[in-house]
């Protein structure tokens, strides 16, 4: 088991599965409002980052491409957060 988790792809897959379960669970319990939105965006951010770094293999890529893709994730999360914040006012 420990050996299997040495492969970053396997580790990423496991975390992605757990994180997907968490988002599904938040939906099941009807989580809503500020904390729920922040939690779901944080989960999506962690998931997206794992896909970018471990699946797309950009961890060791030239900095520009890491910044572009991770920047996209930050930008999209921020815009969604802003829109939801406006809706809660």
């Amino acid at each position: 088991m420990i050996n299997i988790l040495k492969n970053p792809a396997h580790r990423a897959w496991l975390v992605l599965m757990i994180a997907t379960g968490m988002t599904w669970y938040l939906g099941e319990v009807g989580a809503a409002g500020t904390w729920a939105i922040v939690a779901m965006l944080a989960i999506a951010f962690v998931k997206g980052r794992l896909v970018i770094l471990d699946f797309m293999e950009l961890r060791e890529a030239p900095m520009m491409w890491r910044v572009l893709l991770e920047g996209w994730l930050i930008l999209v999360s921020s815009l969604i957060l802003l829109a939801y914040w406006i809706s809660l006012k």
Binding site: N7, A9, H10, A12, W13, L16, M17, T20, G21, T23, W24, L26, G27, E28, A32, A36, I37, M40, L41, I43, A44, K47, G48, V51, I52, D54, F55, M56, E57, L58, E60, A61, P62, W65, L68, L69, W72, L75, V76, L79, I80, L82, A83, Y84, I86, S87
Partner: protein, 198 residues
């Protein structure tokens, strides 16, 4: 070792590499910008119709949405394993993992078709209301990208059967893999946004 030799500098430079072709990454960025606009349009339109969006979001099947997340992530993982197999010249594992990734994509499409037929069967269309307009257009736009990703995977599979990819050259495989991971990345944002966040 106060000064690094040219050899170690070269080694350091070669570890900083972008997988696949540069062109595919520009294409991926363009696609991602289009989806960023779409996601923002959804979120900001929702801000003006919160009650309507919250009401109709409850009609979506979160279980199928989560199942599709599992399918795309697992499909992506198989393609990572195919790329890893190429770097160690394990020809059989390259083809097998591409095929498994392709099947996950097929599973995603099947689940989505079940979901769409339930909605369309209930008489829901793009013109029903603003929420369904976004739900159908956003998920269908993504659906088309899954299909394109699967076409790419099919090409990669045929090429891998000919032994094209290996430690000598995995560029084509890595380019296709990057596109497939993008399809996964977009769904990772789309699923909570459209199905869960309220």
């Amino acid at each position: 070792m106060s000064e690094s030799s040219p050899i170690t500098n070269q080694a350091a430079a070669s570890t900083k590499r972008l997988p696949g072709d540069l062109a595919i990454w520009f294409f991926i960025m363009a696609e991602m910008v289009a989806f960023a606009v779409f996601f923002s349009a959804y979120a900001f339109t929702r801000a003006g119709h919160v009650e309507m969006f919250n009401l109709y979001q409850q009609t979506l099947d979160r279980n199928l949405g989560a199942l599709n997340t599992v399918l795309l992530i697992t499909g992506s993982w198989f393609i990572v394993l195919a790329v890893q197999a190429a770097h160690r010249d394990d020809q059989k594992a390259i083809s097998r993992n591409i095929l498994l990734g392709f099947l996950c994509g097929g599973g995603f499409l099947a689940v989505k078709i079940i979901e769409y037929s339930a909605k369309f069967g209930a008489g829901i269309s793009m013109s029903t209301n603003t929420f369904y307009m976004f739900y159908i257009s956003l998920t269908f736009f993504h659906f088309m990208h899954v299909i394109l990703g699967m076409v790419i995977l099919a090409v990669l599979w045929f090429q891998s059967r000919k032994g094209v990819y290996g430690s000598h050259d995995a560029n084509g495989l890595e380019s296709g893999a990057a596109y497939w991971h993008m399809v996964d990345l977009l769904w990772i944002v789309l699923f909570p946004l459209v199905y869960v966040m309220r």
